[in-house]
Symmetry: C2
Subunit: 421 residues, 2 copies
């Protein structure tokens, strides 16, 4: 009689990930880098397969009525696959955080304490219709010694299946376990729910995507989550802000790439600078296609500005929309930020040193800037070499996350028969 192989359960997948992570935790950097080079090679060699599978996802997505923005994020062509392979090779050059000594001491009793960086173990990722995240997270997790379990969503399921198989082939070619990188798309939504409840089997869960996806994961997950959140981002133009600098920074923050989380939402202007700055600044913003909303003071100075509502102060724009409010002073600006910000990034334009330091110390956001565009909140710009996401929570990681933020620590204690008195 023929025997049937048992269908693996999600717990089987997670257990295999845990076992594989144990092998990777003590792998040398050289082995991990060899795996990364093999992945880049496999992706390039598999371009035709990847693009074919992606084409099937795109056709299905069009039939399902996905928006053009989602379809563009979903699309992989030959150039984009090549860019993904490049990105994996770039990770080879990054510093391996595993084994780094964080701190240590020799206690008065002679006991030696060392806190060292270790991988988390098993990292879960939940995201939507972005096959590039599959490759990004897999390569960053691998370099930081972690196994990954990926839930990439049904829209990219065929693409992700091919990508994961290629990555597994590459990992196996250097003698590492295939279960280091696994997709659970086949388990559907129940699989995502089970992943969120798998505390003990999964060490950390990273949601990437829309605000509603992230909120669902935050609300439902029993596994510790790193929230990579939305940005309602502010620039405050202080009384002393020079016009040219104000224009440069506001334009760059708002217009350079309005669809991302570090782009500007709300401009706050000191009331004693509003008449000097707003006419020229708003003319430049309008010339760049920005729709302006503002409070009464703004609308008095700049004709034709739409009336801003509380919803405008609270909303991440993702587009060429800007809300403007005139405030009496820096403390009023900081109070507005405390009330409405998502604590991602805020910047002050000022020529006054005390005001700058007051703003830096008092604003409670992941990144607080003086005289710089908010667009610099980015793992690449920060010199991390790669970015897992931008954390807007305060636990574990805050701001752009690189390889370091994909690690935990453990304490090594070396004694010579020490006992406690």
């Amino acid at each position: 009689m023929p025997t049937t192989a048992p269908v693996p359960t999600l717990v089987d997948v997670l257990t295999a990930a845990r076992t594989a992570s144990t092998a990777l935790a003590t792998a040398t950097t050289a082995v991990k880098d060899a795996a990364l080079r093999a992945i880049a090679h496999e992706l390039r060699a598999g371009t035709a397969d990847i693009v074919t599978a992606n084409h099937e996802d795109l056709v299905a997505g069009q039939d399902d009525g996905l928006s053009s923005g989602l379809l563009d994020r979903l699309r992989l062509d030959v150039d984009r696959v090549d860019a993904l392979a490049d990105a994996v090779e770039h990770v080879v050059g990054l510093t391996d955080p595993v084994g780094q000594h964080v701190r240590g001491s020799v206690l008065p009793n002679g006991l030696q304490l060392t806190q060292v960086r270790v991988p988390f173990g098993v990292v879960g990722a939940i995201y939507e219709a972005r096959p590039n995240v599959t490759v990004d997270i897999a390569s960053l997790a691998l370099k930081s010694g972690n196994a990954v379990v990926l839930r990439g969503g049904s829209a990219a399921q065929r693409t992700n299946a091919v990508l994961v198989r290629r990555i597994q082939d590459a990992v196996a070619s250097v003698g590492l376990p295939r279960a280091l990188v696994q997709t659970i798309d086949e388990f559907g939504r129940p699989g995502a729910t089970e992943l969120m409840r798998a505390r003990g089997l999964v060490d950390v869960l990273i949601p990437r995507g829309s605000a509603s996806l992230i909120q669902t994961v935050v609300a439902e997950s029993q596994v510790p989550v790193i929230e990579t959140g939305a940005g309602v981002v502010h620039v405050f133009l202080d009384e002393s802000a020079p016009l040219d600098r104000a224009v440069d920074i506001v334009l760059n923050s708002k217009v350079q790439r309005p669809s991302v989380c570090n782009a500007l939402e709300t401009l706050l202007v000191h009331e004693r600078a509003a008449e000097r700055l707003l006419p020229a600044l708003t003319a430049r913003l309008r010339a760049a296609g920005v729709t302006l909303r503002g409070d009464d003071a703004t609308r008095t100075i700049v004709p034709g500005v739409l009336r801003a509502t509380e919803a405008d102060w609270a909303t991440e724009s993702m587009d060429l929309d800007l809300s403007i409010r005139v405030v009496p002073d820096v403390d009023a600006a900081m109070a507005h930020i405390a009330r409405w910000s998502t604590h991602h990034t805020e910047s002050i334009v000022t020529n006054d040193v005390d005001t700058a330091e007051h703003f830096l110390a008092g604003v409670d956001s992941a990144v607080v800037m003086v005289n710089a565009s908010t667009r610099f909140t980015d793992g690449g710009e920060f010199g991390f070499g790669a970015e897992v996401g931008i954390s807007t929570q305060k636990l574990h990681a805050r701001g752009p996350m690189g390889l370091l933020e994909l690690t935990s620590t453990k304490w090594l204690v070396r004694g010579q028969g020490h006992i406690r008195g």
Copy 2:
């Protein structure tokens, strides 16, 4: 007509905590230390009130049938109040982590990046019948710049109410807001549930107490949690373990204070050392009152040992119980640990350097030791000066938590009109 003050809601309490935390975030160390000294003074001055309230809680607890262990944890007498005040004064001497530079760089474009330590903001604590935690957490939170919201449980409600009022009086006496330290016991269980759902208002939640309390908080909380977990703790006696050192470390780990999380549960013994070590070692353990359970190999070598079950490998003892298993080698010991440990603390007794390093590298626990008693996993022993708890999760903090672990970070970015190209 008389007006009635509106009854504050839990959201009012949490909002007041947030506002108060803003004032504390930029307070100098000198101001925070003055508040701590005032707290110690108020506790001593209020000893009679505290002991009276505590007596009412104790009487109610006896009527409610609380165990003698719980009643002992609940009890505050004159000496214990004095010890609490001493502990608060001790926190004055600890290094203030707020404002410390974690890392920084000047980017190629001249942008200056500095990652600095900042308070979380609002810390929630959920615990049971231990009024000393009220004072401990309040003083550590204050020193690290955080407001606290305390849910101490109904059994200690009268005691905690008096303690919190005294602490608030002290805080106010140095000009800081009373809302820095608040209890929500009056809101009952619904208040605890609401606290766990208050993501955005509370930055981190720390449960302290029984395994079931911690599991409830982990399962229900949408606020990020630091799990301070149970310890199923292991010692492995390697083939080369000297008898005297093995006896010292096992006895100290098991017997010195069996009711705490860093005490030993399971002894693993190399099969080529079992006959040499177990007879003398088990005789000493029995003389100390320890009940022994073991696998077949152990029971062959040591008559009268009870049969160990899987439940024994999985259970935190909290008492004078020890489970013993003979294993073929260090890898089998590590596999047992990977399967059954809660990843709190494990120790190897060995004279072989390679085996020691293999164990240190391969065991995935918060604290991994060589030739030392597991009882050293403790914030006080580690030189932190205080302990918030011992984290058994990997996110944010792992192992003993001191003041540093009550902080987050933020990035300060200083430019001179920098925009992104």
